[in-house]
Amino acid sequence: MITTAFSYHKAGTVADALKLLAECGDDAKILAGGHSLIPAMKLRLNQPEHLIDISGISEIRYIRCEGNSLRVGAGATHADIANSSDVQSHMPMLAETAALIGDPAVRNKGTMGGVLAHADPAADYPAALLAADAEVVVQGPGGERIIALENFLLGLFDTDLAENEIIVEVRMNISPSNAKSTYQKFMQPASRYAIVGCAAMVTVDQGRISDAKVAFSSVAEKAFRAREVENALKGQEASEATIKAAVKNAVNGVEVLSDHFASSEYRGHLAKVYAERALKAVI
């Protein structure tokens, strides 16, 4: 399959990319790993006139800790994130999530920034990042904006990113040393995209759950925090009975997605099953 014709521009720096975006106007698209954009362009779902390739910008391909904050550059690939010792030790569920994306070749190309900008409801990172209270850092002509991921994700393939902005980083506080986290995914076996994904980060203090953050990917039009589940866990005894009671609330008030892989009823059921598995793994 051949995409429509476009002009190709290679950006060397973020400033370069922003300048190109301003010059090329509405019909320009950023190209990062290309693993969502190129397939969409082949299907002619996207027909940009200009592609601005940011995959060679080294200043956004990093993973580092700054004090208590874990910073992942938008250009970090899924393989970079899965293999990073900083991520493995300071936000283990994020490394676990990255390692479950697609297959090795997809992980070698796809990037953090690409996932967040694309806002596919089936993307894996958003659940883990919401459970980590992550923030997205974007740059535009007016400078930098920092947006909580929860406010950044607006809906199906829709974000708060303006057309003349690019994502440069996602940041989050490192996981408290007594917290445990995991991401559990039920995947479509051929594409390996999530049908349901659940991230959980829990702190247990002397047999009681002192903090709990639970979030889902691929259950609704956008990833979301399951606050009813969290509230049913907090302050309770760390037991199987607590978990079983809490996960009953997993999709309360949520419009659950239905597609040819899973009806909304089945997906809603899977959400509870995967929340239970995730919580049992960390409590």
Binding site: M1, Y8, G34, K42, V106
Partner: protein, 163 residues
């Protein structure tokens, strides 16, 4: 229209002008006439087009040829150690262990396996199957593919220890 690129493919430098929308797999197959890299699904799923770009396994149907500018590419044509018919241990393994039937998936399987063995010279069966998650085979049922890769891993480890 054309954008000039320079790429090294299997150790040999090439210069060409490519249309930006040309996929890397078509550049390899149609421009350089290296048809060992296959197009199976053209939707980034099957792995038949797997090659190495700058040392990493990637799907060449999901990369633009312009993105390979300045890069190092390795394809199935570059696997033979002498470039003259001597088989790489992986190629030998697929032959010895009947790792192929129609052979369509084989170039991609070998390139994915080569990337795995570079990272992990002694993979378990589970690790091999995990590394091949992006490579589909419609014929073999994967069993002999796993054995072929184990054959190659054993042979390559012995070659390392015996110098």
């Amino acid at each position: 229209m054309g954008v000039p690129i320079q790429v090294t493919v299997n150790g040999k430098p090439y210069k060409a002008e490519v249309e930006p929308r040309q996929l890397l797999v078509h550049f390899l197959r149609d421009t350089l006439r290296m048809t060992g890299t296959h197009v199976g699904c053209d939707t980034s799923s099957c792995g038949a087009c797997t090659i190495h770009m700058n040392g990493e396994a990637v799907k060449s149907c999901t990369i633009l040829a312009v993105q390979a500018d300045g890069g190092e590419i390795k394809t199935i044509e570059g696997m033979s150690p002498d470039g003259n018919g001597t088989l790489h241990p992986l190629q030998e393994g697929f032959k010895e262990e009947h790792g192929l039937q129609c052979g369509f998936c084989t170039p991609g399987m070998i390139m994915a396996a080569d990337a795995l063995l570079k990272e992990n010279p002694n993979p378990s069966e589970t690790e091999i199957r995990h590394a091949l998650e992006g490579n589909f085979c419609r014929c073999t049922g994967y069993h002999n593919i796993v054995k072929s890769i184990q054959y190659a891993a054993d042979k390559m480890r012995k070659e390392v220890t015996h110098g």
